[in-house]
């Protein structure tokens, strides 16, 4: 988006945020549920974008962290704990597990790493399903309460949508700050050239683990919101396909672009809903759309925009050069 003037960008951003606050006010229950789901999935996809898009570490386990967060929130809030406490526990536990999952990334890369995380994802699913003393097994956990924020009940869909949107805003600002901090630079160095990063004194070991841990912690946050959103959880939504879906969101939106997860989650959550009029065909069309998009632009939607901007900048720069050259010539 760097082609726009800065005030224009800020105005656009404010308009989108205002739209997200105002427009859903007269949405029905289902519309609000879908939008809340978009906000929650965006948080999880932002986490994966940190791990994959910025730090370059492939993970097929983000869905498992959403599951860990969701079960932490469900178990705690049904036992009378407030949701913020549950979110803290969700963050801490996904961070810790994510850190441990980062260790294989120190040894293996690329597709091997993908398969280790894939195996972890399925193992987590087995634990959710089998440890019924904790997770309720296949019957899941029902009657998950929605929180009271500053004394206001958020049982209705609209207030809870604002909880999700507010959480998304907080996470967005935090991630924005993180990728602009030296940490973000270190993550990108890890992705671009780990060897050079190390020779420049970046502790690649620590940052690899951190990339996993922070990305996973955001998955945990998303899960902790998902549980009160659906108010009932069982192991099925947290199987491998959620991890694959989240990965698809990040790639389709544009891995390594700040706004990629927002767009990717929009396509993954909203596009199937818009295609619902096609009845049984909607997931098929969704799959075809994703394939066509990736054939057209393997770097996702923002990749298209990025290439367009780059081309325009090159053109502008060469025009400037031409002007400068002719000036030089006339001066001689």
């Amino acid at each position: 988006m760097s082609g726009f003037a800065k005030p224009l960008k800020i105005a656009l951003l404010l308009a989108v945020v205002a739209g997200l606050i105002v427009v859903p006010m007269n949405f029905n229950r289902y519309g609000l549920f879908i939008l809340s789901q978009w906000a929650v999935m965006t948080i999880a996809a932002m986490g994966l974008n940190l791990t994959l898009g910025y730090a370059g570490q492939v993970s097929l386990a983000q869905g498992a962290f959403v599951g860990i967060g969701a079960y932490a929130a469900a178990i705690m809030t049904t036992h009378g704990w407030p949701l913020p406490a549950a979110i803290v526990v969700a963050i801490v536990s996904s961070f810790a597990v994510g850190w441990v999952l980062g260790y294989p990334a120190l040894r293996v890369q690329h597709h091997y790493l993908a398969f280790v995380t894939l195996a972890f994802s399925t193992l987590a699913f087995l634990v959710f399903r089998n440890e019924s003393w904790l997770t309720g097994g296949i019957y899941g956990i029902s009657n998950i309460p929605r929180p009271h924020i500053f004394g206001l009940a958020t049982n209705k869909p609209l207030p809870f949508y604002y909880v999700c949107l507010g959480s998304l805003a907080i996470v967005s600002v935090a991630v924005w700050w993180l990728i602009r901090s030296p940490w973000g630079r270190a993550f990108m160095a890890l992705r671009e050239n780990p060897l050079r990063a190390q020779s420049l004194g970046v502790d690649t070991r620590r940052y690899t683990l951190m990339a996993f841990a922070i990305g996973s912690a955001l998955g945990g946050v998303a899960g902790a919101l998902y549980a009160p959103l659906t108010q009932y959880i069982d192991p099925v939504p947290f199987n491998l396909s959620l991890s694959l879906d989240l990965l698809m969101m990040v790639i389709v939106g544009g891995a390594g672009f700040y706004f990629g997860p927002f767009l990717g989650a929009m396509i993954a959550v909203l596009l199937p809903e818009w295609l619902r009029f096609t009845e049984g065909y909607y997931l098929m069309l969704y799959a075809i759309a994703v394939i066509l998009l990736l054939i057209w632009s393997p770097t996702g939607i923002l990749g298209i925009l990025d290439r367009y901007m780059a081309a325009r900048r090159t053109k502008a720069a060469s025009a400037l050069r031409a002007v400068a050259k002719s000036r030089l010539e006339t001066a001689q």
Partner: protein, 291 residues
């Protein structure tokens, strides 16, 4: 003891099918760096193609031939030309994601155009038991084992004994040099896609009578084949065979000696251990690391 014998036979039969699927998986990886996340769905689809052929009145043998031919066109030729070719130069990850989307697409198409329910599928091997070393063994297990072993031996012979096989290996190992010495690399890559399609169609024919034809049955199978391919060695055909058999046996033993709930966990933990301590797989060669 008799229990152990039965488990071993059942495990080897399942493992032989995993091996077929895993071999195709590694072939695609070796020749075109394609990680095919739709490999399980590739096994699920041919059975439905055969059922469709029977539905319009073809006898079983003709349906098998039509099903295999259609699979080779759809899952071999069309898959390569429409999806892999345009995406190959963009690297491993976007292509892998595209195959994930393809898996969703195939599953949904089968659900929509055929049925969401499981359909029975005729067996090419007569049902019944025969006695082996004093144990009753189902003919189906033996049939599966024999067909799978024949297919794998046929493929290994093709790869190692014929000029065509040597050209395929050359194309996989070093496309540039292979091109210089006159190997038609493009055609060899296409050939591996066709072989993969043939192998998955064969696996489909063998496994569907046991587990029924269902749109979602590819998920478990695809994952088992992944694990088999990696455990055995991602870059070796014989590794994939060993991995398939090993995972089949391990899975069956885990089901009765560990717990039915965690039977799926045993191969996964095994996979993690193998990747961490011997990432090239039990029989694989170490790959050069790019970094």
């Amino acid at each position: 003891m008799s229990n152990l014998f039965d488990l071993l036979v059942a495990g080897l039969a399942a493992g032989a099918i995993y091996a077929l699927v895993a071999v195709g998986f590694t072939l695609l990886w070796q020749t075109s760096q394609t990680i095919n996340f739709a490999q399980g769905e590739f096994v699920m689809l041919p059975a439905f193609l055969m059922l469709a052929a029977m539905h319009v009145g073809a006898p079983f043998w003709l349906a098998i031939i039509l099903g295999i031919l259609l699979s080779m066109i759809l899952l071999g030729l069309a898959f390569k030309m429409l999806l892999v070719d345009p995406m190959m130069r963009h690297g491993v990850l976007p292509l892998a994601i595209a195959t994930m989307a393809l898996a969703i697409g195939i599953k949904e198409a089968v659900k929509q155009f055929f049925s969401a329910e499981a359909s029975p599928f005729p067996s090419i091997v007569p049902t019944g038991d025969i006695s082996v070393l004093g144990h009753a063994v189902s003919l189906q297990s033996i049939g599966v084992l024999v067909v799978a072993i024949l297919a794998v031996f046929g493929l290994t012979a093709l790869l190692n004994r014929t000029s065509l096989g040597h050209q395929m290996q050359a194309a996989a190992q070093n496309p540039t040099v292979a091109r210089i010495i006159g190997v038609p690399v493009e055609r060899m890559i296409l050939l591996t896609f066709l072989i993969n399609a043939f192998l998955v169609a064969l696996a489909s024919l063998l496994i569907t009578p046991i587990y029924l034809a269902k749109f979602s049955s590819g998920e478990v199978l695809g994952q088992a084949a992944f694990i088999a391919a990696i455990v055995g060695g991602f870059n070796q055909v014989r590794g994939a065979i060993a991995g398939g058999l090993l995972i089949g046996v391990l899975d069956n033993l885990a089901a009765s000696y560990v717990s039915t709930q965690y039977r799926a966990a045993v191969p996964l933990i095994f996979l993690i251990v193998v990747i961490l301590f011997r990432p090239q797989g039990l029989l694989g060669r170490a790959e050069e690391r790019t970094v």
